[in-house]
């Protein structure tokens, strides 16, 4: 596998895991916040799942999904899910009650209050979650090399098993760190585009 193929696979697995996690996390957070008692069990459960190391989670899913990219994507989506879920819940909980009352007073239903007021106001917190999750996922994708789909981790592992050949190990590592930084920067830009009302957004 050459560097470019590895980089493309790395980016693809990261994007797929983050998208999957976001799509599941936001509705789940909304559900948890709406029925308040769910918040603590959800967060405690998430914190416990989060302690399971990536090596265990990826190989644990191997009997289910085989030696495929799906195994890595599903495992990493689980970690990302926990980070995004936590941030979204906190973001939704921190909406000031006078804002909610004002929206209800203007005739918003519970549902549209959530979609048109709640989500936009929680957006900065959600985006911080997505950013943290993305950076950590870029690092974790490498562990997927164990099931043959680790993107740049593949380059690193091959270098390692090839008599500790350091050039590929270093190249793979540096590219992964750079990918993490670039994706983080892209997400900061995206957040500014998505929330034009935020201070400093229209620059």
């Amino acid at each position: 596998m050459d560097l470019l193929t590895a980089l493309v696979e790395h980016t693809f697995i990261t994007a797929a895991a983050i998208t999957l996690a976001t799509v599941i996390a936001i509705p789940l957070a909304v559900l948890a916040v709406r029925s308040r008692w769910l918040v603590t069990p959800t967060l405690v459960f998430g914190a416990l799942v989060y302690t399971v190391p990536s090596l265990a989670l990826i190989t644990g899913l191997w009997p289910v999904f085989g030696l495929s990219a799906t195994t890595v994507i599903v495992a990493l989506a689980l970690y990302a899910l926990m980070i995004i879920l936590r941030n979204t819940i906190v973001g939704l909980q921190e909406i000031p009650s006078h804002v909610k009352k004002a929206a209800l007073g203007m005739g918003y239903s519970e549902g549209s209050l959530l979609v048109r007021v709640g989500i936009p106001m929680a957006l900065p917190a959600i985006m911080v979650g997505i950013r943290l999750a993305t950076v950590s996922t870029v690092g974790l994708v490498m562990v997927g090399a164990l099931v043959g789909h680790g993107g740049l981790g593949q380059i690193v592992l091959n270098g390692f098993t090839n008599n500790f050949y350091r050039a590929p190990i270093l190249a793979g590592t540096l590219l992964a760190v750079m990918l993490g930084l670039i994706l983080e920067w892209l997400l900061v830009w995206l957040e500014r585009r998505l929330s034009p009302w935020a201070p400093g957004a229209l620059r």
């Binding site: 603590t40 967060l43 405690v44 998430g46 914190a47 416990l48 989060y50 302690t51 399971v52 190391p53 090596l55 265990a56 989670l57 190989t59 644990g60 191997w62 009997p63 936590r86 950076v135 950590s136 870029v138 690092g139 974790l140 490498m142 562990v143 090399a145 164990l146 680790g150 981790g153 690193v156 592992l157 270098g159 390692f160 500790f164 050949y165 350091r166 190990i169 270093l170 793979g172 590592t173 992964a176 760190v177 993490g180 930084l181």
Partner: protein, 231 residues
């Protein structure tokens, strides 16, 4: 079902490849890495917090620590310094430093200014202020950093098996090499059980410390849940 049978097989409970031996390896690697990290990071974090200087350096160390992939650093160190327990311990120490450092710094610098002024008013010197006011007040948060680091290192120590460091990761990797699904799943269950128990136990200790210092109203269970919930 097969996994349960694997756990009841006495052969898996004895010898250098048995569960107790691997568990001990995992704990020893973790303990050594966390202790070294604490010896380095605690004084620096506490001092920068006390003096109110250098927090920018602390923040950038933390950010850098998060950006470096564990997997890559472990293989890189093993390739540079030789396979074995020492490569694993060095890599794990590097991962344990950021949470301990940032928490110690934030814990001390975040001590209530009123409390600090009160200490000054009764004539405490800088050193007394640190030992009698700041440290006791900051203790739960300082411990939170050690808890995060310990749980993280316990989990990551599983990767040590990749570079010949032993530990519970061996069951997973060996099982994987033999295409033995039962062994892999047993290893996964073992690792998950150990990290979750560690998190629960240390969260309980942290809640207990806060209660001992008498600054948390309510019952121990609720502050235990709060610690777990806030991650």
């Amino acid at each position: 079902m097969n996994v349960l049978i694997w756990f009841t097989d006495p052969a898996n409970w004895s010898g250098p490849n048995g569960i107790p031996a691997r568990l001990l390896e995992q704990f020893v690697i973790t303990a050594v890495a966390v202790v070294i990290a604490a010896v380095i990071a605690l004084p620096v974090g506490i001092l920068t917090g006390h003096l109110g200087r250098g927090s920018a350096v602390v923040t950038s160390v933390a950010n850098l620590g998060r950006a470096i992939p564990t997997f890559a650093l472990l293989l890189l160190l093993a390739a540079a310094g030789g396979v074995g327990v020492s490569a694993a311990i060095i890599a794990l120490t590097i991962f344990a430093i950021p949470p301990i450092l940032t928490n110690a710094n934030i814990a001390i610098s975040g001590v209530d200014a009123q409390a600090r002024m009160a200490g000054r008013a009764v004539g405490f010197t800088g050193r007394q202020l640190l030992s009698k006011v700041e440290l006791p007040l900051a203790l739960p948060l300082i411990f939170a950093g050690i808890r995060t680091a310990t749980v993280q290192v316990t989990a990551t120590a599983t990767l040590a098996a990749l570079v010949g460091g032993g530990g519970l990761g061996r069951f997973i990797l060996d099982g994987f090499g033999l295409q033995d699904t039962t062994m892999v799943l047993a290893g996964v269950a073992l690792v998950a059980l150990v990290t979750m128990t560690m998190e629960g136990f240390l969260a309980l200790v942290q809640a207990g410390i806060a209660h001992q210092l008498g600054r948390v109203p309510g019952r121990l269970t609720s502050s235990f849940l709060r610690v777990l919930r806030n991650g």
